[in-house]
């Protein structure tokens, strides 16, 4: 792009992703034709990615408050109170489009970006998580994408020395052309040392720190705001390249400076780089900012103002520093061998003024740039309901024994062991990973204390596509349940809304439905949303992904020495107890997905009774905290038998299972995916059942732990070693094929 481009043509406007109406609005705000740099700034700030123009209307409905919420959505990340003067700062963010185009760098910079969002607020990141969705295993690109994304996530987090402690991964053909890479970072800060982005103080220095600015990632935000077509490979130059070593230096330098009182405001340069960081800082502070772009550290010669402002080079931060502290701040960054440049000043004009070679190349009034960003209440249609499948109809044509079904289910792409993935992540560095990947929630001790955070990511997209409201509820409820099953008090969530093209009413219907369900669940479970991210246009040639509102949940364990119960069976001869009602709901179940030809991914998903979720979960958490159970696991994909098998494999102890006489088909009881259920083990089941009865909680003994085999009474059994082989081998075998 050339700064001297004389006139802005409709073609140039279209290339910048602005509609003619939106461009009219630009002209009105500017009172003249914008210069190229100005047009570029409007383009990225008003992109879907930065402006949330299609989603804002709906996001406002989500509950964001609770007594323990210190800062909800709107800052770089959400902040909650975890006691003892400490705050937990966390957020999840997508890097879907770049990861499909260039999986290693796309995923790596996704991880780098979300970590910056957390440490820019003053927190040291203590854990990374992720939620990954790939296309069908048989799709020719899937292996390449899995391998690149996992290596990229590991490559960045491992080098930074922040443990990647868990996550989730699903396969579905709807992601063939649009994988999802959602990365979450959790950090811990002192409550009196939280940093925000509002610039202040007339004349104060605006400081650029970190890597130099290059020509990478220009228009990344705009690329992520459009559908893919057959030429999406050509967009590779819009993907950024990560340098985790520089980010590690940036982290240490920022935290060192944050320990002083020099910083007034700080904002990382993420999507839309210097543009969005400077606009946010000036808008939030109600001030103006003036830059001399000649002072910006650049990697290449002859970069234009347009390129400098739109570059998405990684590992950069913008700060406003107190007068008189500039030299001290500079010394810290020089010690860490990072660039430190005063590139501008805070002004009282409310305008973003950019100078280059002594000329003003941009002069935009900031308040209307932000406040008058387009916001659309796009047309939407509700998702038509799917019929509830009766168990007998669902099972028609499925003739298989429970143990055969189990062996195949635990070896299926969606339920097999993810060891191949998490062994590539350093999940132990920092010395506080109390519960490693593979259980309900990861548990990370708050360094130097007896407290711990439980962390999980969850979503069941095949439920969401059938019934977005139930699916939205279920995603939140499952996160809450996973934290509960670890003994934690669930505190808050971050959401990552991944959907197709919002200009299609059925996609907006999915979005609206998921938001409705999530809102209901957040309210019922006192589990507010404190941060989040939206990724739309996950479509290729008009085919969208399954609606995927990924939920990242955080909970608190008060005393990690006492309040912890593992997922694995811990002792022999313990009674196995199912908490919660089992109705044998098979619609959208893993059983049908794996075994049914006609009913695969058919029917309505299991309904989520939020009152039952709350009652059952609170009951289970009390059992754990009071030391009344020896193991606990929530029941989710694959139902009771898969949950029991996971507990057996984790503990290395088998079980004798006696399904109760309910009248429903055995496969429905064993593999139905009814919600609000947990499995616990106890050596005093009578006390436990009595407690459940008096609390009005459904509870039933379904077997006993022991041996090295899972049996179902009538000689129907499978050894743990066979089960383990089946569970562990699918993913490494799949990835080993060249």
């Amino acid at each position: 792009m050339n700064e001297t481009t004389p006139t802005i043509t409709p073609e140039i406007v279209a290339e910048h992703g602005l509609t003619p109406e939106e461009y009219e609005r630009v002209l009105r705000i500017m009172g003249r034709e914008p210069k190229m740099t100005e047009l570029g700034i409007f383009s990225v700030m008003w992109s879907e990615h930065c402006s949330y123009k299609s989603s804002k209307f709906w996001l406002k409905k989500l509950p964001t408050e609770a007594p323990w919420v210190i800062c909800g959505p709107g800052e770089n990340a959400g902040v909650i109170d975890i006691g003892d003067g400490k705050a937990c700062i966390f957020k999840m963010e997508s890097h879907n489009h770049p990861s499909f185009i260039e999986p290693y760098q796309g995923a790596a910079t996704g991880v780098g970006g979300i970590m910056r969002d957390v440490f820019t607020m003053g927190a040291r990141p203590v854990a990374n998580m992720n939620a990954l969705r790939f296309g069908a295993p048989e799709h020719p690109k899937t292996r390449h994408l899995v391998s690149g994304v996992v290596a990229g996530i590991g490559g960045y987090g491992n080098c930074m020395g922040i443990p990647t402690v868990g996550g989730e991964m699903n396969f579905d053909p709807s992601y063939n052309g649009n994988i999802l890479v959602n990365a979450m970072t959790v950090g811990i800060a002192d409550q009196d040392k939280i940093f925000y982005s509002a610039a202040a103080g007339l004349g104060n220095a605006v400081v650029y720190v970190g890597s130099k600015t290059g020509r990478d990632g220009i228009h990344g935000a705009t690329m992520a705001s459009a559908e893919f077509d057959d030429d999406s490979e050509d967009k590779r130059p819009t993907v950024q390249v990560g340098d985790p070593f520089t980010e590690k230096l940036l982290l240490e330098a920022c935290l060192e400076l944050m320990a002083t009182d020099a910083i007034i405001a700080i904002q990382d340069m993420g999507a839309a780089g210097l543009t969005s960081s400077s606009v946010e800082m000036s808008d939030k502070g109600g001030v103006g900012i003036e830059f001399d772009l000649d002072q910006v550290p650049v990697r290449e010669e002859a970069m234009t103002p347009y390129e400098i402002m739109l570059s998405e080079s990684q590992e950069r931060m913008l700060m406003v520093v107190k007068p008189g502290r500039e030299d001290m701040a500079r010394a810290i960054f020089e010690k860490w061998e990072l660039d430190f440049a005063i590139i501008g000043r805070v002004t009282d004009t409310n305008r973003l003024v950019l100078k280059s070679g002594g000329e003003v190349v941009c002069d935009i009034p900031v308040p209307p740039l932000v406040a008058e960003a387009p916001e659309y209440e796009r047309p939407w249609v509700p998702t038509p309901p799917s019929p509830v499948l009766a168990a007998a109809d669902a099972l028609a044509g499925i003739d298989i024994s429970p143990t055969e079904a189990l062996a195949k289910l635990v070896a299926s792409p969606d339920l097999c062991s993810r060891r191949w993935v998490w062994e590539q992540y350093d999940h132990m560095v920092m010395g506080d990973t109390v519960r490693r990947p593979g259980g309900d929630a990861a548990i990370v001790r708050v360094h130097g204390t007896d407290r711990a955070l439980a962390i999980t990511t969850d979503c069941t997209p095949r439920y969401c596509v059938a019934d977005p409201v139930q699916g939205g509820r279920q995603a939140v409820a499952e996160a809450w349940r996973n934290l509960t099953a670890s003994g934690a008090k669930p505190l808050a969530i971050t959401d990552n809304m991944n959907f197709g093209n919002p200009e299609r009413p059925e996609i907006m219907g999915q979005f609206a439905g998921c938001i409705e369900g999530m809102t209901e669940a957040c309210l019922a479970l006192d589990f507010p949303v404190v941060s989040g991210n939206v990724s739309l246009y996950n479509e290729t040639n008009g085919t969208g992904i399954l609606p995927t509102p990924a939920i990242g949940g955080v909970g608190l364990i008060e005393d990690v020495n006492d309040d912890l119960t593992g997922t694995g069976f811990a002792a022999r001869d313990d009674a196995i107890v199912v908490i919660g009602d089992t109705a044998g709901h098979l619609g959208r179940s893993m059983l049908l997905r794996v075994f049914s030809d006609s009913q695969s991914d058919a029917g309505a998903p299991p309904p989520v009774d939020l009152d039952a979720e709350r009652r059952n979960g609170d009951f289970v958490r009390d059992l754990i905290v009071n030391g009344r159970v020896s193991a606990c696991h929530d029941v989710s994909d694959g139902g009771i038998l898969v949950a029991i098998a996971e507990m057996a494999l984790s503990g290395g102890i088998g079980a004798d299972i006696l399904p109760p006489d309910t009248g429903m088909p055995a496969l429905a009881w064993l593999f139905g995916e009814d919600q609000a259920r947990y499995i616990v083990t106890s050596n005093a089941p009578d006390d436990l059942l009595a407690a459940a009865k008096s609390a009005g909680i459904p509870a039933i003994v379904v077997g006993t732990t022991g041996g090295a085999v899972l049996t179902m009474g009538d000689g129907n059994s499978i050894s743990l070693s066979d089960l383990r082989n089946a569970h562990e081998s699918w993913l490494p075998d799949y990835m080993a094929v060249v």
Binding site: A151, G154, G155, N158, C159, M160, G161, D243, P244, F245, T246, K248, L249, W336, E337, W422, E423, Q424, Y425, D426, H427, M428, V429, M430, G431, D432, T433, V434, R436, R445, V560, N561
Partner: protein, 232 residues
């Protein structure tokens, strides 16, 4: 015991080692910045894990040129115990204190998991609290842990009893199946001739706390504190 932990740009297990040393010694080690060649008098030097200089060029190669490393080499030659863990082991081979190199893992992937190790030498300040032949379980977390040296060097290491740890099965058998990274002769850690420098890929500091799933790494730090307290 006074210990120093060398902190390079990109070190990331420095705090973990600090915690383990504090737990065993009851006092904090000195956290010594790599650029400062003035290393105080200490009884133990630890070069911790991480990605010094991003492992760019070659793991440990740039850090081996840090000002403080010349001093570490000099102290090691005077007999001061030096422990290099993971990236620290890589740095110690790059600066010549230990023979051989750490190549990319045979599986070409980063690997983080607990491994079983057979303790092969206990006549050192690092391993005195273990029993010869003892099987311990501590984690590895690395991309380049595939130890390589020529046959003469490997024979000399074996002949001089300078292999400190080997990857093994839970029962202690040294097999290819229990070798996580392709290391020659399943070597996980080696000593210098003076037996006062130990480089190892596995992380003893990561399992020195029962809450994290094991304490097999703790005897290394307890043993160092006992040995070096007596020496002082």
């Amino acid at each position: 015991m006074k210990a120093a932990v060398i902190v390079s740009p990109g070190s990331n297990c420095d705090r973990d080692v600090q915690v383990a040393l504090r737990q065993s010694a009851g006092s904090d080690p000195i956290m010594h910045w790599h650029g400062d060649a003035n290393l105080p008098d200490v009884d133990l030097i630890v070069v911790p894990g991480g990605f010094s200089y991003g492992d760019y060029l070659r793991a440990g190669a740039l850090a081996a040129q840090s000002p403080v490393i010349r001093e570490v080499v000099a102290r090691a030659n005077q007999g001061v115990p030096v422990l290099g863990i993971c990236n620290g082991f890589q740095i110690l081979t790059e600066c010549g204190l230990l023979p051989g190199v750490l190549m990319r893992n045979a599986g070409l992937k980063f690997i983080c998991r607990d491994v079983d190790l057979r303790v092969e030498a206990t006549d050192t300040v690092f391993t005195r609290d273990y029993v010869n032949g003892q099987i311990i379980r501590i984690p590895v977390a690395h991309n380049e842990g595939n130890y390589f040296a020529d046959d003469d060097t490997l024979n000399r290491l074996d002949g001089e009893d300078r292999v400190a740890f080997r990857y093994c099965s839970p029962e202690g058998a040294v097999t290819a199946a229990d070798n996580p990274n392709g290391a020659a002769r399943n070597i996980a850690g080696i000593l210098n001739e003076g037996r006062n420098v130990l480089g190892m890929m596995p992380h003893p500091e990561r399992l020195a706390d029962a809450m994290l799933g094991g304490t097999d790494g703790r005897p290394m730090f307890d043993g160092l504190v006992e040995a070096l307290a007596t020496a002082a």
